[in-house]
């Protein structure tokens, strides 16, 4: 699903921050999943314009970790966020991809 797709926060999802662990909730305040600091930051970057490549490059630069390693982690985290419907994937044309 990732390929050239662009992640976007699913409509009406929100992040409730806690100390060290955060919760993503739907519009009825039902928890979708718990997120660590990095996953929460990643979810916040999902604006429908920022590509996975851009996220990977920025995290790799900030953490001084190899891009390949960061890409695996980012891909896994985004896949998990998509599974719980906290994000959706857009095609490069801006259409929402159906799961």
């Amino acid at each position: 699903m990732i390929g050239h797709s662009i992640p976007q926060q699913a409509r009406n999802t929100k992040l409730k921050r806690g100390r060290g662990a955060h919760i993503l909730e739907d519009d009825h305040d039902r928890p979708l999943c718990r997120a660590n600091d990095t996953a929460a930051a990643l979810w916040e970057l999902c604006d429908g314009r920022t590509t996975v490549d851009e996220m990977v490059a920025a995290i790799a630069e900030l953490s001084s970790l190899p891009e390949a390693e960061v890409r695996d982690d980012v891909t896994r985290a985004l896949s998990e966020l998509a599974i719980v419907n906290a994000i959706e994937w857009l095609t490069p044309r801006g259409d929402v991809q159906q799961p």
Partner: protein, 246 residues
């Protein structure tokens, strides 16, 4: 102040009794905060506050003399400010790492702190555990930012890369001749000298300059050269020019 000069006698230097502990220098103008940080951090077996100060000048002097592992610097440290103080500490080539503590989460302040070369940023809303944890993290060579501000840094990096990419794309529009002209502009040549160097008329040189200004979307030669230097394009152009010239 000269490097190596002894600090004045009224400096609050508290030499550590725990040799292996991370040595922290606290710099904040708030006496109560200094007291609270010293008391709390000295309760941690692996941390020790070696000195505390309320102004930037004495702090810089003491950092040079004591070379603490970490300087915990208040963003509002008078008179220079915490960010300028951080720059000075980092410029001194000492191994001291710098953790800036701001009043509240402030995007611009965080970015200024990182730009200053500091190693971490926290706010005064952090509890003792968070500050202690940040100090340990810094001591092991890691950077530290409040988790809720991680996305600010990442967004800034992404925006900078995008801006850099757009500028490089503009340079990509230049013809080989225009790149040559840009490299000569960077060497300080005017259109007459460029014309002579490239064996073209002054009118042609001026036209090349005008075209490259339009393609780079800048208004002056100085701006074009500045943009090229900022994005390391001049050196590449000059090198290409040298390689292409028999």
């Amino acid at each position: 102040m000269a490097q190596g000069t002894s600090p004045p006698a009224d400096l609050a230097v508290i030499e550590s009794s725990t040799a292996a502990a991370v040595r922290v220098l606290v710099a904040t103008p708030a006496p109560l905060l200094r007291y609270a940080l010293r008391t709390a951090l000295n309760c941690e077996p692996d941390l020790t506050v070696v000195a505390e100060f309320g102004d930037s000048e004495t702090t810089l002097l003491a950092v040079r003399r004591l070379v603490p592992d970490i300087a915990l610097v208040d963003a509002e440290l008078p008179p220079a400010g915490g960010i300028a103080t951080s720059v000075k500490i980092k410029e001194s080539d000492l191994p001291t790492r710098v953790l800036v503590i701001g009043s509240h989460p402030d995007r611009a302040e965080l970015l200024a702190v990182i730009e200053a070369g500091a190693d971490g940023y926290l706010t005064k809303s952090s509890d003792v555990d968070e500050i202690a944890s940040a100090l340990r993290q810094l001591h092991t060579g890691h950077a530290c930012v409040p988790p809720e501000m991680l996305n600010v840094l990442l967004r800034d990096l992404i925006d900078r890369r995008r801006a850099g990419g757009e500028v490089l794309e503009r340079f990509g529009r230049l013809s080989r001749r225009e790149r040559e002209v840009l490299a000569l502009l960077a060497e300080g040549l005017d259109h007459n000298l460029i014309a002579a160097k490239l064996f073209v008329s002054a009118h042609t040189a001026r036209t090349h300059i005008q075209n490259l200004l339009e393609k780079l979307e800048v208004h002056s030669r100085v701006e074009a050269v500045g943009l090229a230097l900022e994005h390391n394009v001049i050196s590449r152009s000059s090198q290409a020019l040298r390689q292409e010239t028999p």
